[in-house]
């Protein structure tokens, strides 16, 4: 058993189609919108208060919550399409002990999601700097805070991709996996908060903001553990399902 080589194979799978390029284009589009908003947008009173402090700017470039969702969709599509295209047959022929194969898929999804999260945050930060150049304000986020934003987005991207991959492995259908991931990250958390207000601290969006340093609802270590748990539960369910089912 050589983990390195099967993770490398899974990474090659993720990087030899146009899917990463499609997500990069999404980031560029978001970044362009962000730059335009920063350059030309105003508050209700016509001022530019929303970019007037370092904290405001850090909130604007805190990409972790978005990275969680976007990388989640990436992981869901990547895994579900393995089943859709039948390439999972080759995965299980080369690595017949399925838990090992699925863990390698999750590991590759984590790496790819982390890269997506990092690149996404980088694009947003760069677009913000570009937009600010057309205003009276400079880029005020400190290097340390920028590093925290990038690190948070990187981690959230990795976690989101594993969550999506778990849903993809469970559902095995691209549409269903995308829907399931969207439900898990976007629809269900606010519903949970509505039903039980005390859960607000532990929903993915809040946890991502804690990691980015723009919310102090929880300790960073607790936020890391909680956000990882959000991914590990569907990932574990997906692994068990894959191990029990026939490949048809």
């Amino acid at each position: 058993m050589n983990w390195l080589r099967i993770v490398r194979a899974e990474l090659r799978k993720l990087t030899t189609t146009k899917m990463p390029l499609a997500f990069l284009i999404v980031f560029v589009v978001i970044g362009a919108g962000n730059a335009i908003a920063v350059a030309f947008g105003t508050d209700m009173d016509g001022s530019k208060t929303f970019i007037s402090t370092a904290a405001d700017q850090q909130s604007l470039i805190a990409f972790a919550a978005n990275a969680l969702v976007i990388a989640g969709l990436f992981g869901a599509i990547a895994l579900a399409r393995e089943y859709g295209h039948g390439t999972v047959v080759l995965t299980f022929l080369t690595t017949p002990r399925r838990p090992e194969a699925v863990i390698a898929q999750y590991a590759a999804a984590f790496v790819a999601g982390s890269v997506l999260g990092f690149v996404g945050a980088g694009v947003i930060a760069a677009s913000m700097a570009l937009g600010l150049s057309a205003t009276d304000y400079g880029f005020m986020v400190s290097a340390a805070d920028l590093a925290q934003v990038l690190a948070a987005s990187t981690f959230a991207g990795g976690v989101g991709a594993v969550l999506g991959a778990g849903v993809g492995a469970l559902v095995r259908n691209t549409g269903g996996a995308v829907t399931g991931t969207f439900l898990a990250l976007v629809i269900l958390p606010p519903l949970a908060v509505q039903m039980a207000g005390e859960t607000a601290t532990w929903v993915p969006g809040t946890l991502a903001n804690v990691l980015s340093g723009t919310d102090n609802a929880a300790a960073v270590a607790a936020a890391i553990a909680a956000i990882a748990l959000w991914a590990l539960v569907p990932a574990a369910i997906g692994l068990v399902a894959v191990n029990r089912r026939d490949v048809v």
Binding site: T17, K18, T87, L90, T94, R97, D246
Partner: protein, 338 residues
């Protein structure tokens, strides 16, 4: 030039054409010295209580090409998936060299398989598809180019697999199966979509592998192709084994008898355990008895024989006899099952 048409391999020679050397991987390379019979033992597979494969048993021997035949839905693909650990058997076991696929120490170095003709990402190039397999199996990337050359797909290696014809996809699947130069090949309908040149190439390749001592197990519904390719055949219908054995024996497993009193002779032969069908022009087609036994039975019954000869069925004739009814067709003096 068809680069596979000049194959010169012998039973003890695992050298392959076009300077293709056996691939090595980090699990120890090709397992050339050991032979690996494929053994299916009392395998049953049920979905929702309904048996797709039922108490199926047979062996595919090393050094021979075994054709796996049956109509659509007969259970061929399911059996192959059980063999390769892609589906679990409800009962029974499927092994390669006595070991279940998932327990083989070097599965891809032992078994090369192509069970889904379309198992490619349409947006990925053929070369990258094989590179992924090479990564996963620890095989060198140079070997990817070698097998692409071997299956004559080098010219399209950088094109997206989604644009390949069915024949090209079959070649890519075969390249994947050959990547680690395994001593066992399991191929599901590998001839589908191939042009005549491709079919000849495939036949030469598989024959050469068997001649080198490899176990070659091929499902197909192209009976004419199997007739030219296989040494042995296993026939399933409705999930059950209906016939297995040497193709040569099976094709000669019937006798033609013409007698003065055909009905009396039919009774005598059936009484001796033969299976008798009516042939053309009043002849009887007898299975399950040798020529000597037929002669002795007719002598004892006092029936004069006007003709007694071996009948050479085509595989197609036999196939339809085997699969023509759900009970498993007729019997012959090879290992046919009720």
């Amino acid at each position: 030039m068809n680069q596979l048409s000049d194959l010169k391999t012998g039973p003890t020679d695992r050298s392959y054409p076009m300077s293709i050397e056996p691939a090595t991987n980090s699990d120890g390379g090709a397992a050339a010295a050991q032979s690996y019979p494929i053994s299916i033992e009392h395998v049953t597979k049920e979905y929702s209580g309904s048996a797709v494969v039922e108490d199926l048993s047979f062996v595919a021997q090393p050094g021979r090409v075994t054709g796996f035949l049956g109509p659509n839905g007969a259970g061929k693909s399911t059996t192959m998936k059980i063999l390769l650990g892609l589906a679990s058997a409800t009962k029974g076991s499927a092994t390669i060299g006595g070991i279940a696929y998932r327990d083989l120490p070097n599965p891809t170095g032992t078994v090369g398989a192509s069970v889904e003709a379309d198992a490619f990402h349409p947006g990925r190039s053929g070369r990258n598809h094989l590179r992924i397999l090479a990564d996963a199996t620890g095989t060198s990337l140079e070997r990817v180019d070698e097998v692409l050359e071997l299956v004559e797909l080098s010219h399209a290696a950088n094109r997206h697999a989604g644009g390949y014809s069915l024949g090209m996809k079959q070649r890519l699947g075969l390249a994947g199966a050959l990547l680690c130069d395994p001593p066992v090949l399991v191929l599901d309908e590998p001839g589908n979509g191939l042009d005549p040149q491709g079919i000849r190439t495939l036949r030469n390749l598989l024959r050469s592998r068997a001649a080198a001592g490899d176990t070659v197990f091929v499902s197909s519904h192209l009976l004419g192709e199997v007739e030219q390719l296989a040494d042995d055949v296993v026939v399933v219908n409705g999930g059950r084994l209906v016939a297995q054995g040497s193709l040569a024996e099976m094709r000669q497993s019937a006798s033609i008898v013409r007698a003065a009193s055909p009905e009396a002779l039919r009774n005598a032969l059936e009484g001796a355990g033969g299976v008798v069908d009516s042939g053309q022009s009043g002849t009887l087609v007898v299975r399950g008895l040798s020529l000597d036994e037929i002669g002795e039975q007719s002598f004892r019954a006092g029936i004069a024989l006007h003709e007694l000869s071996r009948h050479h069925d085509s595989l197609e004739d036999r196939f339809f006899a085997w699969t023509g009814d759900a009970d498993g067709g007729t019997q012959s003096n090879t290992k046919e099952e009720k």
